[in-house]
């Protein structure tokens, strides 16, 4: 399992991104962190270059919908639509469905307990219907996606 934790857009708040990156690394996930103010295009490029399974976007500025859309569209256009995208940050409840309809696999709004975020990636303690990002689903998606990448 390899993940790119990325800060798209102009938001400079990186506490959450770094805490999640740290926790996932401690849980055995390979983590790449983008640093601040990356464009969606740069994030797509990094995700493909680093051959990650998941891109985690951290956005606290309210710009999550357009930024997530551009990353997902960019991944699909680059033939890397098998890379899952998750979003964390200040996300009002009414925006969660919209993000999911764009193709965001999971949304972790402010206040999500850290163990629940980690479990979503490691597959431990996750309910089976929660769209786990863990090793099993990753292997399946890798097989599907191998030709495209």
């Amino acid at each position: 399992m390899k993940i790119l934790i990325a800060k798209p857009g102009l938001d400079g708040h990186d506490r959450g991104a770094k805490v999640v990156a740290h926790a996932l690394r401690d849980a055995g996930v390979e983590v790449v962190y983008s640093g601040l103010k990356r464009t969606p295009e740069e994030i797509v490029q990094d995700a493909i270059q680093e051959d990650v399974d998941v891109v985690g976007l951290s956005i606290l500025s309210g710009a999550h919908v357009p930024l997530a859309r551009r990353v997902i569209d960019g991944l699909r256009a680059a033939g890397a639509g098998d890379i899952k995208v998750v979003v964390g940050g200040i996300v009002p409840p009414r925006d969660i469905d919209e993000l999911k309809s764009l193709g965001v696999a999971r949304v972790f709004p402010m206040g999500t307990p850290l163990p629940r975020i980690v479990a979503a990636f490691t597959g431990q303690g996750e309910p089976s219907d929660s769209g786990g990002l863990g090793p099993a689903s990753r292997e399946a998606s890798k097989m599907k996606g191998a030709g495209e990448r």
Binding site: G12, D14, R15, A23
Partner: protein, 531 residues
């Protein structure tokens, strides 16, 4: 017996007594309010003579919407403003810049040109209302716009009271609205301080922030230590320009947070005032008592608040207001209960203002100065905090000083490490958050409950861009080009950049154009990335 520790790390005893004050010299260490070393506060009679200023952080959408919200809060008794700018403005991007997509008017109001600042302060007399501008990388042009609007209104320069945040060093550690590399960023900080000290004697041209570094994860002691180290760096910067310390130090102000353990926060401010006074008098040789005073806005940290059962945050806000009042704040601002979801609604902002007013008018916290003085616990804790802050200051020195430690990313790494430790304490329950990690209620029922939230108006973007395009068409574009060329030339040399920036601003140059004129010369900051 339960083990209890301060956020700063040292243990808290179950009982304190006279033996805990063994090393304290009451005259030397505690003194009187309004007297050196100001442990008990910077004014002799504090809130009996003047209540703290109530200054909620406000700004969203267009300047027109923000102006209406300013007036709404002022009509309910708020006596000063604290302006939030959107991220494109903070980063020097025009509202129609492709990189601004989705961000215009989101976390603050959009400002492209002087016309926006004129609209934001229409009907607000800038010779009577003090205004904080939460702006850093673009502090010079935004403050220039503010000075220009004040001039248009006919306000005398010596009546203008504004506090641009203008604290770039903390932006490299937390908050992240850096643009240029560290050294040219510091030059702009110094240019604004110097220009304001000469021409706007009542402005506070830098507000040194521990707040955001604490919000990014550091401890209470680190918050104060990093803030003091950053303040010292700015003092050295100005001394390096040939200014005398008493020419600018009286107008240095501070912005810190107060959430968590009430007594630890009070001790942090009491220790911080003492350390700052000694530093300014003994290390920098300041003679004017105003140069020794740690004047602070205390803003409740939004990270104190949780998403679960958000109305409980109103109660948390009341404790923060109490902590800030007991700490001797000059200005208080509170986060709003809905901050974990989105920017504040008008209702939430009014509740925050009412919380401060209740604390001021009803609780008795404003009746007497530094009411916790002499408490065995609080005096011992003040001493512990002073030692802990001193330890952190010594660590900063071992990293090569605050500027070097920021350039290398060492401070950022330490803050991230502390943020992770804090999160682990939330997971373990060592740090309690009611309804989030203890006394958790019916989460399913809670998830279905509606919280009335502010809704972003996408029409704001179109209005802002239309206005910007109109100004670009109608202004004297030759004058803009001349002003921008002069700005780039000045950036290559050593003259104070506020002069050409003011000229560009008055010609209605955009924030993006002004930024580009400097970025072409200064280049961009490269972040030391890590976690």
């Amino acid at each position: 017996m339960k083990d209890v520790r301060a956020h700063a790390g040292f243990p808290i005893k179950p009982v304190y007594g006279p033996e805990d004050l063994a090393g304290v010299d009451a005259e030397r260490d505690i003194g009187r309010p309004g007297e050196y070393p100001y442990t008990r506060g910077i004014h002799a009679h504090m809130y009996r003579e003047r209540l703290w200023t109530m200054r909620q952080y406000v700004g969203f959408g267009t300047p027109k919407e923000t102006n209406a919200r300013f007036k709404y809060l002022m009509a309910h008794g708020q006596d000063a403003l604290n302006v939030a700018f959107d991220l494109p403005t903070q980063l020097g991007l025009d509202s129609d810049d492709p990189r601004a997509e989705g961000e215009v008017g989101r976390v603050g109001m959009a400002v492209d040109t002087l016309a926006d600042m004129e609209e934001a302060f229409a009907g607000i007399p800038l010779d009577r209302v003090s205004v904080s501008l939460t702006i850093n990388g673009m502090a010079a042009p935004i403050t220039a716009m503010y000075y220009a609007v004040a001039g248009q209104q006919g306000a005398a320069a010596d009546r203008v009271v504004t506090t641009p945040q203008n604290d770039m060093l903390k932006e490299f550690v937390a908050r992240g609205t850096w643009i240029y590399p560290v050294d040219p960023s510091l030059r702009l900080v110094a240019d604004l301080i110097e220009f304001s000290a000469k021409h706007y004697p009542r402005s506070n041209p830098v507000s040194v922030c521990g707040y955001h570094i604490r919000e990014a994860g550091c401890t209470t002691a680190q918050e104060m230590a990093y803030g003091l180290a950053i303040a010292a760096a700015y003092v050295e910067l100005m001394l390096g320009r040939g200014m005398q310390v008493d020419e600018f130090a009286p107008r240095i102000s501070f912005n810190f947070t107060a959430w968590g353990k009430i007594f630890e926060e009070v001790a942090k401010f009491r220790a911080g005032r003492r350390l700052y006074a000694r530093m300014m008098r003994e290390r920098f040789g300041a003679k004017n008592p105003k140069s020794w005073m740690f004047r602070s806005l205390i803003g409740g940290g939004g990270s104190a608040f949780v998403m679960q059962e958000p109305e409980n945050n109103i109660v948390r806000g009341a404790y923060i207001a109490l902590a800030a009042a007991l700490s001797g704040a000059q200005t208080i601002a509170l986060p709003t209960y809905d901050e974990a979801y989105t920017i504040p609604s008008a209702r939430a902002q009014l509740i925050a203002l009412r919380t401060m007013q209740i604390c001021a008018e009803e609780s008795g916290a404003a009746d007497t100065v530094d009411p916790l003085a002499g408490s065995y616990y609080v005096e011992a804790l003040t001493g512990e905090m002073e030692r802990a802050i001193g330890d952190e200051l010594a660590r900063v020195e071992r990293m090569g000083g605050i500027v070097e430690a920021i350039k290398s990313g060492a401070i950022q790494a330490e803050v991230a490490r502390q943020a992770y430790l804090f999160e682990q304490k939330l997971v373990s329950g060592e740090i309690a958050k009611v309804a989030a990690n203890c006394h958790v209620g019916d989460t399913a029922a809670e998830a279905d409950r509606e919280v009335a939230l502010y809704a972003f108006d996408p029409a704001a973007l179109a209005a802002q861009v239309a206005r910007l395009e109109k100004i670009r068409r109608e202004r004297d574009n030759a004058a803009v080009a001349r002003a921008l060329a002069r700005l780039s030339d000045a950036a290559r040399g050593h003259d104070n950049l506020m002069v050409p920036i003011l000229e560009a601003v008055k010609a209605y140059a955009t924030i993006g154009e002004i930024n580009r004129a400097m970025k072409d010369v200064f280049g961009e900051h490269k972040e030391p990335v890590g976690f």
